[in-house]
């Protein structure tokens, strides 16, 4: 038995050793990125006023912060990175129990709705001069970070996730279409076109038009002028037909087998990106990295506008919990960090798509081309999408409701009846809302 222990211990040490050596042999550049890359915590600056800043994801804010503390030596920033869900859970617990929140926190677009019920726990950024920068941001992004009454700004927008249509040029060509972005955009200008082209692709190649009903539904939902709730908080999804149309549209695609039953983030979904199982994916800017990761060959995937408009998925806000003793300094910092110049840098370094339209006209942005997507000016496609997003009231129960609709869509993919699934979803939604 002691042999077994030794064996395990030795193999462990061997890997550690190799890992350490490997860093050295790869040259200095590698070890450099290793040490000051994305460690989970960094204390940046030596100022007396320390701001604790919670962030998630790969933002590259550490580099920007160094710039900031160099100009503002009185502050130092303690940047703490964590998993996206963990960050929001911890923020929720801290606010609920009344202590433990940071000075600055990132809040994801989907999560900010529920934190809007706790205005007492956040600083109103209008009190610190947020109205001066309001005009710098896209209206719909700004409004999503504001209370329903419009007098309380919870957060300053950082990045956004405008959705476009990613498509596989090889599948479109195989089906006999011109695969340039302009041609595809004209070919698939409406949702009816999308369905028709889907049929043709299926007939001539046997491939699916798109990966998941969920994303088609999201696209059509985001293009609706009214969604689940009105600003008074009443459920209206059954009273106008935009959401129902989106639902029925997806049901139709399922019926004709034009859309796959391929859940997002599963191996078959990732694998499908490389195999060309599906011809299009209606997804946001940040999906570029995921696609590149799963289909190494350049020029296979390209990008064009989505039928009938755009949508948004993802993006974040920076908010200041009321617990902070340095709200002024925190605000000065986040205003700086979300200003167009810094958003451009975040875009260039880490692909965070800017929420300030001023960036869209900057030469560095206009000239940004991506060989991977056939050398087209990808940033422009996304910025067009960003400006086409509808301003719509979501409401704090948006996501629980949306989840129930998604469950119904999941059942549709297995062949359930749309009418009864819609009724069942409404029933579940009403039971959730009764609890609020």
């Amino acid at each position: 038995m002691s042999k077994f222990i030794k064996l395990i211990a030795i193999s462990f040490l061997a890997v550690v050793f190799l890992a350490a050596c490997g860093g050295g042999t790869d040259g200095d550049t590698d070890t450099d990125t290793g040490t000051d890359g994305d460690t989970t915590q960094e204390q940046i600056g030596e100022g007396d006023i320390e701001l604790v800043f919670w962030e998630f994801g790969n933002t590259g804010y550490d580099v920007l912060i160094e710039e900031y503390v160099a100009e503002n030596p009185h502050v130092s920033i303690n940047l703490q990175n964590s998993d996206m869900n963990d960050l929001h859970d911890n923020l929720f617990t801290s606010i609920s129990a009344g202590s433990g929140a940071p000075d600055i926190t990132m809040i994801e677009e989907a999560q900010i709705e529920r934190f809007k019920t706790a205005p007492q726990a956040f600083e109103n950024l209008y009190d610190y001069g947020a109205s001066d920068v309001e005009g710098d941001f896209l209206d719909w992004v700004w409004n999503n970070g504001r209370s329903a009454e419009g007098d309380f700004q919870f957060g300053l927008p950082t990045d956004i996730g405008p959705t476009v249509m990613f498509y596989r040029t090889d599948v479109f060509e195989e089906a006999g279409f011109d695969s340039s972005p302009e041609a595809v955009s004209d070919l698939v200008a409406t949702w009816d076109d999308f369905e028709e082209v889907g049929r043709q692709i299926k007939d001539s190649t046997g491939k699916l038009m798109t990966d998941a009903g969920e994303l088609v539904y999201n696209a059509r939902r985001d293009q609706a002028t009214q969604q689940y709730f009105n600003p008074d908080g009443d459920l209206i999804m059954d009273e106008h037909n935009q959401i129902r149309d989106a639902f029925d549209y997806v049901a139709g695609l399922f019926e004709q087998d034009l859309v796959g039953d391929i859940p997002l983030w599963t191996p078959e979904w990732f694998g499908g990106m490389g195999d060309g199982t599906y011809a299009t994916m209606l997804a946001p800017a940040w999906m570029q990295g995921v696609i590149k990761d799963n289909e190494p060959e350049e020029g296979v995937w390209s990008i064009t506008t989505m039928p009938e408009g755009a949508g948004n998925w993802g993006g974040s806000y920076l908010a200041i919990p009321s617990e902070t003793e340095h709200a002024e300094e925190a605000y000065a910092f986040i205003q700086w960090l979300t200003a167009p110049e810094q958003q451009l840098k975040a875009f260039e370094g880490y692909g965070l798509f800017p929420s300030t339209p001023a960036v869209y006209d900057m030469p560095e942005f206009l000239e940004y081309e991506d060989d991977y997507f056939g050398g087209i000016a990808t940033a422009q496609v996304f910025s067009e999408a960003a400006q086409a997003v509808e301003t719509v009231y979501k409401g704090r129960n948006f996501y629980p409701v949306d989840d129930e609709v998604k469950e119904a869509l999941d059942n549709l993919s297995a062949g359930a009846d749309p009418e009864s699934e819609w009724e069942a979803a409404l029933d579940r939604i009403n039971r959730i809302l009764e609890r609020q």
Binding site: I8, T39, T40, G57, D86, P267, N294
Partner: protein, 284 residues
């Protein structure tokens, strides 16, 4: 039948033996598979992992993936933190639970049954809702970002007391305790000098279970250890999750190497288990 069973011990091959091995080997394979697959993923690129069908043989990126882990989080610092927390809870729990278990098994006192029932009832409360009030207590004590926030509540272990009581009641004979009592031993000395050496397998079992549990737990540490220098291994590993673009090769590499020390700990406890066994055999 009688003849056959007699042969079991002596013959080299028997059907019984064959089936026992078959049973154990198939059980081991089923148990081992996810662990093996974790290793496979730790040696591969994300793209390879996402293939359909997924790969079942190790790839070439074992070292590279682990390098990525090391450059993203303070892996060994977090491992040390985990070690401190898990050993403290284990030692504390073993002592408190065996002491209480001994008390409930062997001492007579008023309210014994009610108090024991109360301990069992505490196991029946679903713990999931306690998160917010418990967090509130920790902040009131000023234990946020402090290992005490995990160690002290971790010592409450109704399961451990119940286990020790059951074990002690069947394996420590009353006669020995009475004899020691007549010799004038204090209760604590009877517990420490006489009972503890007799229940080492129970210690090993509870120790393994508690250590593993604390080591792998992330729900509660995640809530109370916000400062990354205080992160335990499982909390630190969570930071490897990117918001949207998961590098499963890297995540599994971190996860795999975080599990390896547990096997070593298991084998060490197992040794305690075996030793106590052979000692027991000598005694009897």
């Amino acid at each position: 039948m009688a003849k056959e069973s007699k042969e079991v011990g002596s013959s080299k091959f028997s059907y019984q033996k064959f089936f026992v091995y078959l049973f154990l080997i198939s059980g081991s394979l089923i148990s081992l598979f996810p662990f093996y697959y974790m290793f496979v993923m730790a040696t591969r690129l994300n793209r390879e992992i996402n293939q359909v069908p997924p790969p079942f043989a190790p790839g070439a990126n074992l070292v590279e993936n682990f390098q990525k882990v090391l450059s993203s989080i303070d892996f060994f610092g977090a491992m040390w933190n985990s070690f401190i927390v898990a050993s403290s809870v284990t030692v504390g729990t073993l002592f408190l639970c065996s002491l209480a278990g001994y008390t409930f098994a062997k001492l007579d006192f008023k309210g014994k049954n009610i108090l024991f029932a109360l301990i069992l009832v505490t196991m029946m409360v679903p713990p999931q809702l306690g998160l917010i009030p418990q967090y509130y207590i920790i902040t009131a004590l000023g234990w946020l970002n402090d290992f005490r926030a995990i160690i002290v509540p971790g010592l409450i272990n109704a399961f451990g007391i119940f286990w020790m009581r059951q074990y002690i009641s069947s394996s420590v004979p009353d006669e020995i305790i009475e004899a020691a009592r007549i010799d004038g031993c204090s209760h604590f000395r009877i517990y420490w000098n006489i009972s503890v050496p007799m229940i080492l397998p129970a210690f090993a079992t509870l120790g393994i279970i508690v250590f593993m549990h604390v080591w792998n737990d992330f729900l509660w540490p995640l809530v109370v250890l916000r400062d990354p220098t205080m992160h335990t291994l499982q909390v630190a590993l969570r930071a490897l999750n990117d918001a949207r673009q998961m590098d499963y090769g890297m995540i599994m590499s971190g996860t795999f190497w975080a599990t390896v020390p547990l096997i070593i700990v298991f084998l060490l406890f197992n040794r305690l288990f075996i030793q106590s066994l052979s000692e027991g055999a000598v005694k009897s």
